[in-house]
């Protein structure tokens, strides 16, 4: 630090100027007491999405304001940003595992805050959902920079002191991605490296449709064969894309496909479902004669939110549930009431008394898209009445919203749901820090639950 008329200022400028003097003096070696140029490190610099990374700044003046900034570009080209303000330690370092943020995208000591705190950068398209990675074979490239003072990212690059690039992967090296279009089943299978055989998971998402691969890719990176299954809104599925045109036989085929795979243990297969995928998972485990080793259900209903067209579970037009939609003052829609137990079609309510395997139900208490608390209660009561409450593990997270996903990825409270017939932004719920904490804790517990039920 340099005292200038009584005011203490950090000596970055002086250090740079001294470096310039060196140029003119030439061959004389400069043995000064100035510190080396600041350095920003991220370790490990290439990691899986659910790995923690240690972000540290070194060789800074002591007790000085600095900003650490993270930037990431999604597959669609949208820029996401996060930043945090710190004061360096007396030894001139900043360590995100040890130091609290005093301002920015998050507050307090949050080692992974720069990752889950990523928000669409100013000027981005509106209503972006958490950066949903479509191409799981490439990493997210994160540019982290260390800036002078307490600034916001738009004030770079003039004050950039150091930078590091980190890669965040959904697929560990050697994990294989296999597109499945077999027996009418549409999905993507991820296999861990090695000969196997492996325990496996069937991975189901919600009414957003399509094929969501990233959670399966992570399971494979953790040693489980995992199969992401499409059931609505995919071009390779039969019928209009806004309806579910597949029924029980389809899901049974998918499960059978896993059982028949030479690298999968046929009696060590679990099912994970989020949102409407919860209903499908529960239905599959209770009605269809399939015996999964365990079930993981996140924020979803115990019955169908859509009137069933036939006994097999195919659905009618989905506009009927609009009467349960509610709107906030910005015109954002919440689907929450659609899945209230009272509003579920009675004949679709899953007969949970037939459940024979352990079930983990994860609730985001601020879920604005599904009535998760009420459905969790319903499941708990039903199992208890059947004398099967020991099968249930219930995890409940205050302040968490609907999309409880793998950790350390950004989450949004609302995002664009549809453009036609009208532009709709839907509310997921959840507040930034508690939702991120829920993702971190639930993911750990999900992997432990899988370890217990699929490996031993």
């Amino acid at each position: 630090m340099i005292a200038l008329g009584g005011k203490m200022i950090p000596c970055y400028t002086v250090q740079r100027n001294l470096a310039c003097i060196q140029r003119t003096v030439g061959g004389v070696r400069w043995t000064s007491s100035c510190r080396p140029a600041p350095l920003l490190t991220a370790s490990p610099v290439r990691a899986l999405i659910d790995d923690k990374i240690s972000i540290r700044g070194h060789f800074l003046p002591p007790r000085c304001p600095v900003t650490v900034c993270a930037q990431m570009q999604s597959d669609d080209g949208d820029l996401w940003e996060a930043f945090a303000h710190f004061n360096t330690n007396s030894d001139g370092t900043v360590n995100l595992t040890r130091d609290p943020s005093v301002g920015g995208s998050y507050l307090g000591c949050e080692p992974m805050g720069l990752l889950w705190g990523l928000q669409p950068a100013p000027g981005a398209r509106e209503g972006l959902r958490q950066a949903e990675k479509k191409k799981v074979e490439t990493p997210y490239v994160m540019l982290m920079s260390l800036l002078k003072g307490h600034v916001s990212p738009s004030e770079r690059p003039s004050t950039e002191l150091a930078a590091v690039t980190a890669e965040r992967w959904y697929m560990a090296p050697g994990v294989r991605r296999i597109e499945i279009r077999q027996n009418g089943v549409v999905g993507t299978l991820f296999l861990p490296p090695g000969p196997g055989p492996f325990p496996a998971m069937l991975d189901l998402w919600g009414m957003g449709g399509g094929l969501v691969e990233y959670r399966s890719a992570l399971f494979a990176s953790r040693g489980y064969a995992s199969f992401s299954l499409a059931y609505i809104g995919h071009k390779d599925l039969p019928g209009p894309q806004n309806l579910i045109n597949v029924g029980d036989p389809y899901y049974k085929s998918a499960f059978q496909l896993l059982q028949d795979h030479p690298q999968v243990y046929p009696d060590r297969i679990g099912i994970i479902g989020l949102s409407f995928g919860v209903y499908l998972a529960l239905r599959l485990a209770s009605h269809s004669g399939i015996k999964p080793s365990c079930l993981i259900c996140i924020n979803g209903p115990a019955g169908s939110t859509i009137k069933l067209a036939d006994a097999d579970g195919r659905t009618e037009q989905t506009e009927n549930d609009q009467k349960y939609w509610t709107y906030d003052d910005q015109g954002n829609v919440s689907f929450r009431a659609v899945s209230l137990p009272a509003n579920l079609s009675p004949e679709s309510k899953v007969k949970l008394e037939h459940l024979t395997c352990p079930l983990m139900y994860i609730v985001g208490e601020d879920d604005l898209s599904a009535s998760s608390v009420e459905n969790a209660n319903l499941i708990e009561e039903t199992l208890s009445a059947a004398g099967k409450s020991q099968l249930l593990t219930r995890l409940s997270y205050p302040g968490a919203g609907h999309l409880i996903e793998p950790p350390y990825t950004p989450n949004s409270r609302a995002s664009l749901w549809s453009v036609k017939p009208q532009k709709l932004v839907t509310l997921w719920g959840g507040h930034l820090a508690p939702h991120a904490a829920a993702q971190e804790d639930s993911w750990k517990k999900i992997l432990e639950f899988m370890e217990t039920n699929l490996r031993h």
């Binding site: 470096a19 070696r29 400069w30 490990p44 060789f59 030894d91 001139g92 690039t165 490996r455």
Partner: protein, 437 residues
């Protein structure tokens, strides 16, 4: 009671890392006292397969931790966290004289680590492993930029660290085999030093004109670094191995244009005709070619060509005139150059001249000539093609013993990085440590 299938868990952390990063190999979920073999397999760029393996027995918790447990036998023994990499050797049936060098640094080195039941010695590819993990080893950290350089008629590649800079710079020279070898410069850039790998024996200009380059070629390379907008012109170092040392010492001591913050010389010598061109220096070595020896396997020993170290001052770089810090790294079993003897002579010259405070010597017992970044497989001898016209292919004896040489590489690399950081970034702040960087 039915046999539960073994759900052995194999993990390697990190599974993607830089080539000089350590990893932890953990085998779990087995019965206590279980005999197993951990195996590493790598197919290098020219298609040859390399393997390493070690025998372990699980502890009371059914676990093997390669970083903590001793290998009982295999391509290495004892507790060796990185033995699976540095003890890699060509699989049985391979050609002799192979040396592993990665020429394309933009892709990782891929190694498959597997666990086999029992203590196996061979035939791994015909067995089914219990589990396997694929590991990537990178020379380039994410964000490092690779920039081919052709200005000034140079044949070179510059690697820039990620970020805006400015960064200190480094000129990276290999030895008598020529070619543009990029991996060390890429790795140094991954550590924050903008590094330029320079081909000075077989560059494009020599191929076109038939003439060898001289001082101005190196001065041009230095200038490219000095004038680069993202490089601190006042903080440039030079690193040379083998014949690269000859060039580095020459530039450091005699060049008017090249002003180095520091220099690192590996397995080289200060013996050369002063004022001679690169071509003349090579000719001087060749004049002593009759001192070439052969060992019992007909492998070429060239260390005697520079011995005895001349007393004539016109045949040695005047080390007393050196003005920048110098780190000398030598292997005492170097059969290719008399590096250790030269280091001792350089030390004596500098002590007499009063500038020995600039000198640090790292001398490793039983290490050979090719002291490279750590964890790379060791070759005591390999085929070597000279850059003469016409070229001759020999089996050169580099020297060194597997374990000692591998330890030397690890130690030397760590100390080189500290040396470079200290000298390229200015004095070290009290209390700051590099150990965790």
């Amino acid at each position: 009671m039915s046999m539960k299938p073994l759900c052995v868990k194999l993990s390697v952390q990190p599974s993607r890392g830089l080539v000089d990063e350590k990893f932890t190999v953990l085998v779990q979920n087995l019965l206590p006292g279980f005999q197993l073999t951990v195996h590493a397999l790598h197919q290098c760029e020219d298609g040859h397969s390399w393997e390493a393996f070690a025998h372990y027995t699980t502890d009371a918790t059914g676990t093997v931790n390669v970083s903590q447990d001793p290998s009982l036998d295999g391509t290495y023994s004892g507790v060796e966290p990185m033995g699976l990499l540095w003890s890699l050797r060509p699989v049985p049936g391979s050609k002799s004289g192979l040396r592993m060098r990665k020429m394309n640094v933009q892709t990782p080195m891929v190694v498959t680590i597997s666990v086999y039941q029992g203590h196996q010695m061979e035939g791994f590819l015909d067995r089914v492993s219990l589990a396997s993990v694929v590991v990537e080893r990178w020379y380039m950290a994410p964000g490092v930029r690779r920039v081919p350089i052709t200005d000034g008629k140079l044949t070179a590649t510059l690697f820039l660290p990620s970020g805006a800079g400015p960064f200190p710079g480094l000129l990276d020279l290999w030895g008598g085999g020529g070619k543009l070898v990029e991996y060390r410069a890429a790795l140094l850039a991954s550590h924050g030093i903008a590094s330029m790998a320079l081909d000075y024996l077989t560059p494009q200009i020599t191929k076109e004109t038939g003439k060898m380059v001289d001082n101005d070629y190196f001065e041009t390379a230095y200038r490219v670094l000095e004038q680069h907008p993202q490089i601190l012109g006042s903080r440039i170092a030079m690193l040379g191995l083998s014949f690269g040392t000859s060039v580095t010492l020459r530039m450091a001591v005699y060049s008017q244009d090249v002003k180095l913050s520091c220099a690192v010389c590996i397995s080289g010598s200060h013996v050369q005709p002063i004022g001679g061109s690169v071509e003349q220096i090579l000719a001087y070595f060749n004049r002593n070619a009759d001192k070439t020896r052969f060992d019992e396997n007909n492998q070429v020993i060239w260390r005697d060509l520079l011995l005895p170290i001349p007393t004539d001052p016109s045949l040695k770089v005047d080390m007393g005139r050196l003005q920048c810090p110098l780190l000398l790294v030598v292997g005492e079993d170097d059969q290719n150059w008399p590096a250790h003897e030269c280091a001792m002579d350089m030390k004596e010259m500098m002590e007499r001249a009063g500038n020995s405070h600039l000198l640090t010597v790292l001398s490793y017992k039983n290490a050979g000539h090719l002291i490279e970044p750590p964890f790379m497989p060791f070759a005591r001898a390999s085929t070597f093609k000279t850059v003469t016209n016409p070229p001759t292919k020999v089996m050169a004896l580099w020297g060194g013993e597997l374990v000692a040489h591998s330890r030397a590489q690890e130690d030397a690399w760590r100390k080189m990085l500290v040396f470079l950081r200290e000298n390229l970034y200015g004095g070290m702040k009290h209390g700051a440590s590099f150990s965790n960087l």
